[in-house]
């Protein structure tokens, strides 16, 4: 995966992608603003959500142990996975033990994060995505580009073409005369998926929340496909990040208001499914919960960065982000794109790779993401904090940059030298080119003209006219 600026370079030139993204993000951001404006206690809900999450994160171990106890008491089995490899190994083992070679999946960021589908495929197990947008991505052999709407980069015409050419390879084909009307597309997906739901013996999900006091897991969704996966199979395996725990049912009250409004601009999401262990004759007879760390405890150890773990994956920050809108989700080279991806991914994966080191800079720090975030994550603050880490570690470009910043700092700290420099720049202004050579500066003047240098700096005007 190339670093963000390079990946974005391609995306910015893709007119279809930009048009699709612009349309989709602007529609949803306007709707979200209206849905949020309906509540006069939005600010209080936002603050409450932030506090619940912070309080829970401070005693994460206690809540997780309580959760484990409750899940076990309710007939489930809890597994702890330190990283992606361990989580994949556990899930594969569990599927193997059922003797099955295919599974249906509820849309889940955690399983994407660990690359579960690819891992299962390598082990000879087929994993079918059942969320409509995930299905589009899977059939198109594509990668998701949005947290909530993974196929946001596709328009209806593209989706029709994917359904027509690919559905048959995976199961029930799409009708030959399929048009791009939303109703027809949805019907084709429904028929295709229904066969999968009815056949599957194993379901794999994530969860939006886990309630420690009762061991209950919660999935909120719009389509109802998730509920089918959660209730029809004999075995259910849920892979969930450890930060998703909340202490009590009461805490859900806040998030069940803020999450749907922030993500789909709905007052309430159409389906909220909750499951607690197993019950004879009702739902899966076997339930496994895989608790995933995968870098989360490292993030937790970072005082500034840990606020990223409050994220409830609503994707509101993506929809308002001007950088995401132009670059698209793929450019982030991360399962979590957009502003949250830019602060979460480098914390989960570290900043050693070129792409991870570039993510904290994939923002103009405009602050729109912080403004909409329903749990008040100060994304710009974390971005700057992570930039500090990247700059400190040195590496490509940063050693030179540090030297330049130091030199500039020295000049700026010596106004006499600064004034002399300004004077020279003003005196030689007729000689200045409109375009500059060199990487950084060259890119700047590619699309902009430098302003003409003034005849004299302000300092000199002041000295002549006011002293």
């Amino acid at each position: 995966m190339p670093a963000f600026p390079k990946a974005a370079h391609e995306a910015v030139r893709n007119e279809t992608l930009r048009a699709n993204l612009r349309h989709a993000t602007h529609t949803i951001r306007d709707k979200r603003a209206r849905a949020v404006a309906e509540l006069d206690d939005w600010a209080a809900l936002r603050e409450a959500g932030k506090r619940i999450k912070d309080r829970t994160l401070r005693q994460l171990d206690t809540h997780l142990l309580q959760l484990e106890e409750a899940v076990t008491a309710a007939g489930g089995t809890v597994h702890w996975a330190a990283d992606a490899a361990e989580a994949n190994r556990i899930v594969t083992g569990l599927v193997r033990a059922t003797g099955e070679s295919e599974v249906v999946k509820v849309k889940s960021m955690a399983t994407q994060e660990i690359g579960l589908n690819e891992h299962l495929e390598a082990e000879g197990i087929a994993a079918y995505e059942t969320d409509l947008a995930e299905l589009i991505v899977q059939l198109g052999e594509d990668r998701p580009s949005h947290i909530l709407v993974p196929a946001i980069h596709r328009n209806r015409g593209e989706i029709r073409d994917i359904f027509r050419s690919e559905m048959g390879k995976w199961g029930r084909p799409a009708p030959d005369d399929l048009t791009d009307s939303p109703a027809e597309l949805a019907e084709a997906a429904r028929l295709h998926l229904r066969e999968k739901f009815l056949r599957a013996k194993v379901g794999i999900s994530g969860a939006n929340f886990m309630v420690a006091e009762t061991g209950t897991l919660v999935v909120v969704e719009s389509e109802g496909n998730g509920r089918m996966c959660l209730t029809l199979p004999e075995t259910l395996i849920s892979v969930v990040g450890i930060e998703k725990v909340v202490p009590t049912w009461r805490d859900l009250e806040v998030f069940l208001q803020t999450l749907p409004r922030s993500s789909t601009a709905e007052r309430m999401n159409p389906y909220t499914s909750m499951w607690t262990g197993t019950t004879d004759g009702d739902g899966p007879g076997t339930f496994h919960l895989v608790l995933l760390d995968n870098g989360r405890t490292d993030a937790l150890a970072d005082e500034v960065g840990r606020q990223a773990l409050r994220c409830i994956r609503c994707s509101a920050c993506l929809n308002v982000c001007p950088v995401y809108e132009r670059a698209g989700g793929h450019a982030y080279g991360s399962v979590y794109p957009g502003p949250i991806g830019a602060i979460l991914t480098p914390q989960l994966r570290g900043t050693a790779s070129e792409v991870d080191a570039s993510l904290p800079y994939a923002s103009s720090l405009c602050g729109a993401c912080y403004e909409v975030c329903p749990v008040a994550i100060d994304i710009p603050e974390v971005l700057v904090h992570l930039r500090e880490k990247v700059a400190d570690q040195g590496g490509k470009g940063h050693r030179l940059e540090k030297a330049a910043v130091r030199a500039a700092g020295w000049v700026l700290d010596h106004p006499g030298v600064l004034a002399a420099g300004e004077r020279i720049a003003s005196k030689t202004r007729r000689l200045h080119p409109k375009k500059l050579p060199g990487p950084g500066a060259g890119a700047w003047t590619e699309s902009r003209d430098l302003p003409e240098m003034p005849a004299e700096p302000f300092r000199d005007w002041w000295r002549k006219n006011r002293t």
Partner: protein, 238 residues
């Protein structure tokens, strides 16, 4: 009233006219203006790029330069935001400066209590609220109220006004393609208003957007709010 002008490094070197306009405007309103020459850069570019240690001497210098002034006025939303929001963790002195620094429109509306500054500027103007002024400082309606009171000025709404123009300091250098795409959309919106002046309260954004406008030889120029407010019938600015 006596105030210190914090002109900012970009204005000092590249846009001195904004500093001159600020001085003339404030003096016209009966304010005595000082220019502490020890001032330099507030450290924002260094800070935002991740060079906290390199920011520190500049913070100390800025704090020292403005010692003893109750009101420090700056025609830059983003530099005001740097001091207000990011200085406090640098220590007690830096925290002490934070509430004494006012962005120009804050100073006019909140401290002097004026919205009609007696300006005359017979042009069609559209206003871009820069992100830091908008979100970090919460300037709100202040700039618009000041513009609305200018004689002869026709204020037209900028579509997508609250969207970032794509400058973002070193962002424009580190992510030139995305930055340019954002800037292109900003000027398309600005041109759609039919205005002849795109006004802002932050010259760093205007440097970026104005540079794109000049490259296109567009019939629209970028101008700092202070220069519009400094303009009068007797002494038209430009």
């Amino acid at each position: 009233m006596r105030v210190a002008l914090f002109v900012t490094c970009v204005n000092d070197a590249v846009f001195p006219s904004t500093g001159v306009a600020t001085v003339r405007l404030l003096e016209r309103l009966g304010v005595e203006v000082d220019f502490p020459a020890a001032q330099s850069c507030c450290g924002q570019p260094q800070f935002n790029t991740g060079y906290r240690a390199e920011t520190e001497p500049l913070v100390r210098r800025t704090v020292r330069a403005f010692e003893g002034y109750d009101h420090v006025v700056t025609p830059s939303g983003s530099c005001a935001a740097m001091v207000r929001r990011h200085y406090p963790p640098f220590g007690a002195d830096a925290a002490g400066l934070a509430p004494r620094v006012y962005e120009l429109t804050e100073f006019l509306v909140d401290v002097l209590g004026v919205t009609d500054v007696g300006a005359y500027f017979p042009h069609r103007v559209t206003y871009h609220p820069s992100c830091h002024g908008l979100r970090l400082l919460g300037l709100g309606e202040r700039p618009r109220r000041l513009l609305e009171a200018v004689k002869g000025l026709e204020l037209v709404e900028l579509p997508g006004a609250e969207e970032c123009c794509g400058f973002g300091g070193t962002f424009a250098v580190k992510n030139p393609d995305v930055s340019a795409a954002m800037g292109a959309d900003k000027i398309t919106n600005a041109l759609s208003t039919g205005a002849d002046v795109l006004c802002g309260a932050d010259n760093s954004c205007l440097l970026h957007v104005g540079g794109m406008l000049r490259r296109q030889e567009a019939p629209l120029r970028a101008l700092h709010l202070a220069e519009i407010l400094a303009s009068t019938e007797e002494e038209p600015w430009a």
